[in-house]
Symmetry: D2
Subunit: 479 residues, 4 copies
């Protein structure tokens, strides 16, 4: 018998960052807090993780492939002593470079050590890399973080401060980057001018923290202060917080998929609760609903909130129709023989008592390739559902993302070049509906900045060079 | 800084068993199927697991401490070749004996090899062990399984078949035991005459399977046939299924906590859907409810279904108020410094957008020590809940269990010697209500056998010798 | 490319045991001392190892497959707290039972816990096992230690003390057994009446130690007191040492192969220095030498001493002709492609500067299958040796050993049914000579007991039942 | 009890490199051959190791801390597919940077990937690094290899070929560097103009190999062709070997300590057999000997050959007086309590039968700190030696090495500011003698190049900047 590694969770996730500048005398252990915060951000990346700490301008780090609780243990954490720490959870990359590409990246330059953790994706990395290489620079990784570090270090040579160097470097960087950086005694948080990826600031006592999502603050008992503004550079040194504006004006473009799928429901991003955004999407769908049904169910985990919103708006009862194995999230080897249906059965099981003999409305957050989706529909039918109506709490996914969301090649996308009716038939559902582009603004009502919906529209906030598409895309063949 | 191991999940769980007799020519790999089935039963035990396979009367096995995906890999599974397999997931035991006590236990006796996997707890194990030791027997473990094996082997010496030996052995065994056994070319499933623990039979093609819960059948694509009867011995040999009645009549006593907490909601036990039982409990609670509230929330995972039942019956809207970290279920080291509140924050976070300014009804399945419960209430208040009303979907837990449920010493139990009002105050809730004993039958309506509710009443279906209490109890100091 | 596990060291090794009863107030950590002692005995077994400690009549243990430094770490050792400890290094066994068969074996019986570590091999284990199984006993391992424990426990039921039980048990045991046992507060050392395997006693302060070889005492800074007599039972309790004679008279039969190959040269066994015995064997060979040569070399490690004895006696200069890789002793995967010669090259390399153009006398301790030997000869010729004369410092190996030495099936033995001339030709040497049976006594002059040379003569000190041969033999197909 | 990691082997070792360019159609697996070769070079570095392979201009690698058999397994090796491979074993570096500093270092630059493995130490690395950093370069490691790569890449920008770039880069590099490099389809071997570290070339079929020592060729069945000349650049591409002279003339300075201690006795370096060099040193010592004695013994492993040379020349019989545990070479935790003597006892034991009552001449290759040496003397006295005369087969070690030999701070050196008589007293020997500087040339008679003996004389072949001393030195406090 042959086994293959099976991806139990969807793969189009990205990265999470965290930073902490501990106030003296508060008894805070930065590495330990980072460890807890990364665990709270684990949903943003499961492939590798790392922590870097700075003490007396010297940076130590530990990083490896694996989940946070597996990569770190007491001994390792206790050796990571310092006053400032940053951490990273990473989704992605392939093959033998996994370990070398894990973050934070720690480097030394003429003025000392620097550590960088990065969430996002540059769209001009090829050009920048070529420019550096033309001058004799060498690269150890394929991470954008290394390019960003080079750019900062280059600018640092002709400026007085690291903040100014970052400001100058940002003029050259195009694309998505939420960064936490350690340089000397400074902890610095940076968000790209478009604000593609979230980044927020919190506080516990006089200790300052930064994170991709506010749920990390809850985990360590810190309170949320505010989001980092698009284009803002926030520096913490000796407890003082200073803000520098990059001065770059750009179309605000927070990734709307953060609300649809990426973020934890208990996070608040740029003023909007992820949970409420999902419920609102469900309500929008319900208002467009044209079918009678007995139960509304959500596909765990990210379809649950929208399903509840749908149920409330429509008056059709909400119920749990699919049970997820609590222990997924780790590598699980899967026997290759037997029906392909098995892959999804290991992860999900239909609750026959809930769906047998029922007309079911099944809400999921998105359809990417559609393979998993079709299998779930099949599960429900085997469990006795007499009708399955699919409602998707985001518009059809039709365009690649160049800013950090890992999506398959366009040709693999379910919605690419297919009519609704074709998709409905492939999925084997009785009816199908998506959220519309027009509904989107309502779902993120109150958002403090503009958002990017290019994956639905193809309207990118930043010009993307040709041929980039193919380079950045990869992923799991089995959705 | 000092760390301590922190139990992220509640600990009062027990064990799960699985067995498979593969029909030839169906391309079934028994070890691989067992691996998948054990993963589906992982919620019944996370401390150790094991698989034994039999080929040509020779039994091989692999077992160790850890979760199923961590203990087994491709190489190990591919070496476990055979026609019959049994598996076990185990909660519990302490200290250096963990590995030696993992199951299945494989032994050899005069007629060959035998492998035993056991869910439950004997109440006369001390006496039986003493009796064997008096005759010069030696024990390698502290497992009941070894005592059961001794008893079977002793009886086997004076009978013609293993089934008859098991029947005779059962006369001496008192307490809870759901067993799967490999002996020669036979796979045998045994359930104690009280039926304390569940055990069911399924089929895929001509391959026969047994499992603690039917959700394991779903995972491998097998169909449920029927439950094993209390006191029944079912043997599979060369595809033929034969049933032998032990002839022992006893009060039927299926553990009601299987419905309250242990089992997966998608399992059906002795005719009753676990999910529906939980919803029914919530409905019963709602009918007794005396307070007005804005939202009903459940404590994940096992309080969710009851909360939904409560919401439906009461008309108060159901909502998600607590978000659980998806990645718990593994060892997570916890910084010892800082507030104790942290332990629960790593696991759960309150959804402020759902509870802020609201009167919250919070439903949980049970209160054991109450420590975690009080912390969750605190989380909700910090998130802005103006009132927190606790509803518990089982009666007060007041008596130890001797049949496989790991509960703390009576003196640690929240409900022990405390009035409702005292408990309410300790938990810090505005009101408190429990399911009543009278409600219990309604929650498991249609159950094909009697149930045991001794943990609520002290009325044990089997006589328990004095002093047993202290011996079998242990557990995690931090609930 | 396909790899296979390759045995870098010869395999016909056996086991080592150690025991320590720490005097209070001497600051001795029994587990730590055992760890060091086992490392000194590592040459007696590399497949698995274990330590059991006793504290307040409760025995804890840790054991696993692997070398001593790999199986134990600080954390594990620090948890093994107690006043008495025993340890074991084990060669042998195959397949999935490796871990379960590792020693010491710890069991509980009616009077408490018992731990047993065993070096040797019973010749009536099948009969004994059958006898126990007939009475309903079950076995977890295929170790003789478990049978021995059963026998002791059975006898213990009808006697007052563990020593007396051991004495009675010994009447039933036939074959080789050097044992260290923990029972209650007692540490007990036992040597079979034939004295097949070595066992000695030492002391450091008031702490008493036992070991297979005296080199273990040197490693922990203890001094040698005396050997355990064949048939003697030595008990240490509260610092008092008592000796009990089993009363069984038997032909003394210390394994002569301990001197030839097994033991470390710095050990002294039953009054004879292993190093001096090997040198004496070399001298005997030299006196029989009929060829002129330029250099005498030894095959590392066990041929070195004999080569030096040969050189001194013959006047032909001794030299180092073969260099052994210092890092062997661990699992090394070997590419299967390419010449088979490679296997030996990874382990040994010829020193061209020493043998080029020389007539070489190559001394090895024994020839078992002869495969490795032929390859070494080839190495020397490739390095430029013009003549290779092989001298073997033991007589031809012609009969299986039933007492703990793992030798291949008789038909695989080089000396089986072959004339000297045939062997010489197969090995590709210019001349060949063996030590004679008549020389043997001279090599172990001063030995305090008789020795067993049945592997050379077939004259076994204990009657061996038919068919045993096949059962106990196994080993590495590639010598 | 507290444990500490104990260094079982001397630490003043360095690194080993290997490279292979496999001819097509010869069925050679470069990664597998490199694995075997690195195992043969394991004595040159035990802390970390790595292999990089190139296929179609793309380089993959695997490296980690640990010994060769522990870092690599079948799966890892089978994934390292390619036509060219290089490997590295590394001694040294401290703390958390161990893994990041392991080699080969793989980087990408404007023309593609490059992999570098380096043995030696630059003396102008600080200056070079500063120069690069001044231009905005960033460093991931503290390895000289990264500086060398930068230099090559910088020169590559203004030249046509990698060989020419290396030639130009060499003008800037000062110190010791034996390199193997993969660049595109080329395997390149480079030796610094002083020839500080050895490097040789071999062949098997049409496959070309490079190694630090010829013993690696023996291990894989390749034949030695010749040494790489000081200042030579040898390139292999498509089976063709081309040589380029760097044109830099410098004082030839092969490290004489390669013969004294580093290299394996079966290696031949620049025309001289390591074994014969050691024997010659022993003979020189014997000629200066002024005492009568009964036995000459060597301290394993590197003192053995010199002791044999001494014995032959003096007529005093050679004997084995110290037995080394075969299983050292791995991490062994050592109980901290008890006498410090223990550290050496775990590694070595005196052979009482050889030295009791004897006047012993003990030969060791060198005295660095002297701590271990004094303990060995003590071992011999405890074993009954009546006199111990120490003979050291190299001159007194008085000056730090800047070219790759890790020696402690000068102040820690036994010979620093101490008279012979003082040293003799500290070591506790009856007489003491060293090899003289005048003897050195005789020991390496026939050497094809000049050698460096600066560690004895302070006469460095290359100018060393002030303050370098302190920076490069570190090591194990316990010798």
């Amino acid at each position: 018998m042959v086994f293959k590694k099976h991806c139990l969770d969807k793969l189009h996730e990205e990265c999470g960052v965290f930073g902490i500048a501990a106030a003296p005398d508060e008894g805070i252990d930065p590495a330990a807090e980072t460890y807890i915060a990364l665990f709270a951000l684990q949903h943003r990346g499961q492939e590798s993780c790392g922590i870097a700490v700075s003490s007396n301008d010297k940076i130590m780090f530990h990083k490896d492939t694996g989940l946070v609780p597996d990569v770190f243990n007491e001994k390792i954490l206790s050796e990571l002593k310092g006053e400032i720490a940053i951490g990273h959870v990473r989704y992605s990359t392939t093959g033998s470079m996994k370990r070398v590409n894990s973050q934070p990246i720690v480097m030394s330059h003429i003025y000392g050590d620097i550590a960088v953790a990065h969430n996002g994706n540059l769209v001009n990395s090829k050009e920048l890399r070529y420019e550096f290489e033309k001058n004799g620079c060498i690269f150890h990784t394929t991470n954008d973080s290394e390019i960003i570090a080079y750019m900062i270090v280059r600018e640092r040579l002709s400026t007085d401060s690291i903040e100014q160097a970052i400001k100058n470097a940002m003029k050259h960087l195009s694309g998505a980057y939420s960064l936490v950086i350690i340089s000397g005694k400074k902890l610095i948080a940076v968000r790209d001018p478009n604000g593609f990826r979230p980044l927020c600031m919190g506080r516990t006592g006089k200790t300052v923290v930064f994170a991709s999502e506010s749920c990390a603050f809850d985990a360590i008992g810190a309170e949320f202060i505010r989001d980092i503004e698009p284009g803002e550079i926030v520096t913490v040194e000796d407890g003082r917080i200073t803000s520098l504006d990059s001065g770059i004006r750009a179309r605000e473009a927070l990734c709307v998929f953060e609300f649809v799928y990426f973020a934890r429901p208990d996070s608040i991003i740029d003023g909007v609760s992820v949970e409420l955004a999902r419920q609102a999407a469900g309500r929008c769908l319900a208002r467009r609903n044209k079918v009678e049904a007995d139960i509304v169910i959500g596909v765990p985990d990210s379809g649950i909130s929208a399903a509840m919103g749908f149920a409330k708006e429509s008056g059709i009862p909400y119920g749990v129709g699919l049970i997820k194995n609590r222990y997924i999230g780790r590598t699980f080897i899967q026997p290759s023989q037997g029906q392909r249906q098995r892959a999804v059965k290991i992860k999900l099981n239909a609750l026959a008592s809930a769906v047998r003999g029922k007309r079911v409305i099944m809400v999921d957050d998105s359809i990417v390739r559609g393979t998993t989706c079709a299998r779930i529909v099949n599960l429900l039918r085997e469990a006795g559902a007499v009708e399955v109506h699919m409602r998707v709490s985001s518009p059809p996914f039709m365009h690649p993302c160049y800013f950090g969301t890992d999506v398959p090649d366009r040709i693999m996308l379910m919605a690419h070049n297919r009519s609704f009716e074709e998709i409905r038939e492939i999925l084997g559902v009785d009816s199908l509906d998506y959220l519309t582009l027009e509904d989107l603004p309502e779902t993120v009502e109150g958002l403090k900045c503009g958002f990017c919906n290019a994956c639905f529209t193809g309207d990118y906030a930043v010009k993307v060079s040709d041929g980039l598409n193919k380079d950045i895309l990869g992923g799991c063949a089995d959705e």
